[in-house]
């Protein structure tokens, strides 16, 4: 069952096409990673999902309702954390949390106190005095205090320290275990890898890759480091071998996942002494999509 479904979503700001036929689906109970560099269209997509921007074309539905016309009904069941949290300088963090929770409806005092403690936030301070990280904590506490079915998190950890990032990850996992769905936009790939069941990669307003991490890994290369008694020959001629580098006694190279079998058969002839293999990371995948292309067609830049 899909909680969020976006098809052929297009958004134009004047002549500039920020989104160009985006398709997305978040299923119930899954954490969906929405990754891409700054200016790729992540925030624009999310702001359309929140009914703050109106789509030029295409459909976006949450819980089967239209995000523009049924915004208020939908918002009763979602929690949103923006990447850049601007708060009212003369209200305290505690006041803002209460206001946010109340505006959605429902109030869980115990959960609120627990989260304030876990995120190590002082709610008696005015928002004026908060750093970026602390403002983000306010938004995160407000989001996780509420009993939402879908969490929309737009680069929520960009100002948090590693300790708080860990707390955040725990909160996301707890939400997932409770059967909630999460749309996590991020460019911190290690975080996405840790948390997400499926990811979608967006680039210049288009989704260029979607799927579960293991599916996507098929598209990537495995890193191998091999040490053999006899020098390996003929490696370069094989299909799917890249970036061969000599490191003292050993050779390091990358192999396309589908060619792995053939390559291992080939190198086993040279008496293997040591074999190290590193799984393909999301970063490799990400970089492969952006390398080279980045210089030619740089992104539009900036949050819209």
């Amino acid at each position: 069952m899909s909680v969020l479904k976006v098809s052929n979503l297009t958004k134009e700001f004047g002549k500039f096409r920020a989104l160009d036929g985006v398709n997305l689906e978040v299923k119930k109970g899954e954490v969906f990673g929405f990754i891409g560099p700054n200016g790729a269209g992540k925030s624009t997509t999310i702001r359309i999902l929140l009914g703050i921007l109106k789509a030029t074309e295409g459909q976006a539905q949450i819980f089967g309702r239209d995000v523009w016309t049924d915004a208020v009904e939908i918002h009763k069941k979602i929690a949103y954390v923006p990447g850049d949290v601007n708060l009212w300088p003369n209200l305290t963090g505690g006041e803002v949390i209460d206001l946010f929770v109340k505006l959605r409806g429902g109030n869980n005092k115990q959960r609120r106190e627990e989260l304030i403690q876990r995120f190590d936030l002082d709610p008696s301070k005015k928002c004026r005095t908060y750093s970026k990280g602390n403002r983000q904590k306010v938004a995160l506490v407000a989001a996780f205090t509420s009993d939402a079915d879908l969490y929309i998190l737009d680069e929520p950890t960009s100002g948090l320290d590693p300790l708080m990032e860990h707390v955040f990850q725990e909160c996301v996992m707890e939400a997932k275990q409770a059967g909630k769905s999460v749309l996590l936009s991020s460019h911190i790939l290690s975080e996405v890898e840790k948390l997400c069941d499926r990811v979608g990669i967006i680039r210049q307003g288009k989704i260029i890759e979607t799927g579960s991490l293991s599916e996507l890994r098929h598209l990537t290369r495995t890193n191998l480091l091999v040490e053999t008694k006899n020098p390996i020959t003929g490696l370069q001629e094989l299909h799917g071998v890249h970036e061969v580098e000599k490191k003292e006694q050993a050779l390091s190279f990358q192999v396309d996942t589908e060619e792995l079998d053939a390559v291992i058969k080939h190198i086993s002839q040279f008496n293997i002494v040591k074999l190290e293999s590193a799984p393909p990371t999301l970063e490799d995948l990400f970089m492969r999509h952006y390398e080279g292309k980045e210089q030619a067609e740089s992104g539009a830049g900036g949050r819209s």
Binding site: L50, I52, K54, H75, L91, E95, D98, G105, A139
Partner: protein, 533 residues
Amino acid sequence: MSNTMIKRTSRLSGLILRRDRIRIPIWLIGICFFTFVVPLSFLELYGSQQDRDVMAETMENPAMIAMVGPADLTNYTIGVMTAHQMLLLTAVVVGLMSILLVSRHTRGDEEDGRIEMIRSLPVGRLSNLHATLMVYTFVNILLALIVGFGLYALNIESMDLEGSLLYGATLGATGIVFAGVTALFAQLSESSRGTIGLSIAVLLIAYLIRGIGDVSNEALSWVSPLGWVTKTEAYGANDWWPILLMLGVSICLFFLAYYLNAIRDLGAGFLPSKPGKKHASAFLQSPIGLSLRLQRTGTIAWAIGMFVIGASYGSVLGDLDSFFEGNEMMMQMLASEEGYSFTEQFLPMLMIVMAILAAIPPVMAMNKLYGEEKKNRIEHLLGRAVSRTKLMGSLLIIAVVNGFVMISLAAIGLWVAGVSVMEEPFEFGTVYGMAVAYYPAILVMISVAVLLIGVLPKLTSFTWLYLFYSFVVLYLGGIFQLDEWVGDLSPFGHVPQLPIEDMAWVPIGSLTIVAVMITVIGFVGYNKRDMEG
């Protein structure tokens, strides 16, 4: 104070002058310009002693004395008149200048962490405070000299050199006192907002105590530094020793600030900063509550301001008839209507001014909606279960109530003060009815703000232009003899000018209908457009 404590003060003074190289001249030019223009225009408007004696009579009531202080009204020369009507208010402005500039270089820099960088260099612990106070003492002395010699150079008969120098010195000394007050609060408070707030509070309290003292008990005025300002009696008795008193107090304040700065930690203050509320009150937890809370201080200030404006207009009503008889320009502004006193003819013009002023706070309240949008804070509300209609409606309700309260307070102020000075005071109903007749025009201004926010948010500031246009054509229309349609373009031009015109319900009704229609279009637009930010 050992030498190491103030090492490199001159370098830091240079830095302060460099950073304020635009600010200082702007303040000085502004203050001097008004100081020089006023006696010249007095010379123009009240050339003869007879005119000035009429003016002196208008001044002789408690409300005016509370506002500008006492003076020798029997010898009301241009010089005495300038010192009476301008010196105290200018001194308040000079005080404000010192507060804003000194707090910026002391607690302001400290709060932003710049002092920390300065202090990591080989400079003394007190160098920054010392440099700031030296620079602003110098600026105030410069102001005193420019004003002193400048006034003398105007070459007005009653403004001799001693009086002019004393006038300048009074302004300069007030500035130095408030530089000291601010330096002290910069040590006591932990934030620059606190420093500015407490210093301005001292300034206002000094003004109030002096006002109360001047009206009721002269000894009380001696408590307030601003009371000393009027005690100098520039161009009259020319009393110099209040200046010495001010300088003495300044030196005490400076040394107290130095002492406190020397014994405290960087970033710390002596007044404990009180922790804020951990929970929101029930009142805050809705869009309407949030907006009211955010506008609280501003709204209260405007409400007091409207009452004071009404009261100060009301306080001159008693002497208006005798005042107008000697003033040609005013006679020209008021198209003469048979059968009505000058006061009755002047009242509609006051009402237009008050109604236009009363439209400012509700339009500000409404425009807050777009301001919040641009600061990216509206998504916190719309991203939750708040519809756009509810959000805009909340602000509209606030603006509509705000406008009604503002115009009512101005009318009440006018009536209260009028009753105390007039021989045959107006009925409350008359004054209040006149003011409330303008309420539909205020509603139209609010609806224009709603329309622009909803449909053309980039042009939100056009509402201010429209309000300013209304002020210019209706207030000055009488002098320039403008065509009627020019005034009709403003909603305020359609309101019947009670009491000299009869009450007409048709324009009132149509203004209200227009306001409702424009508002509806604004709401439709707001529900359709993208949020910015």
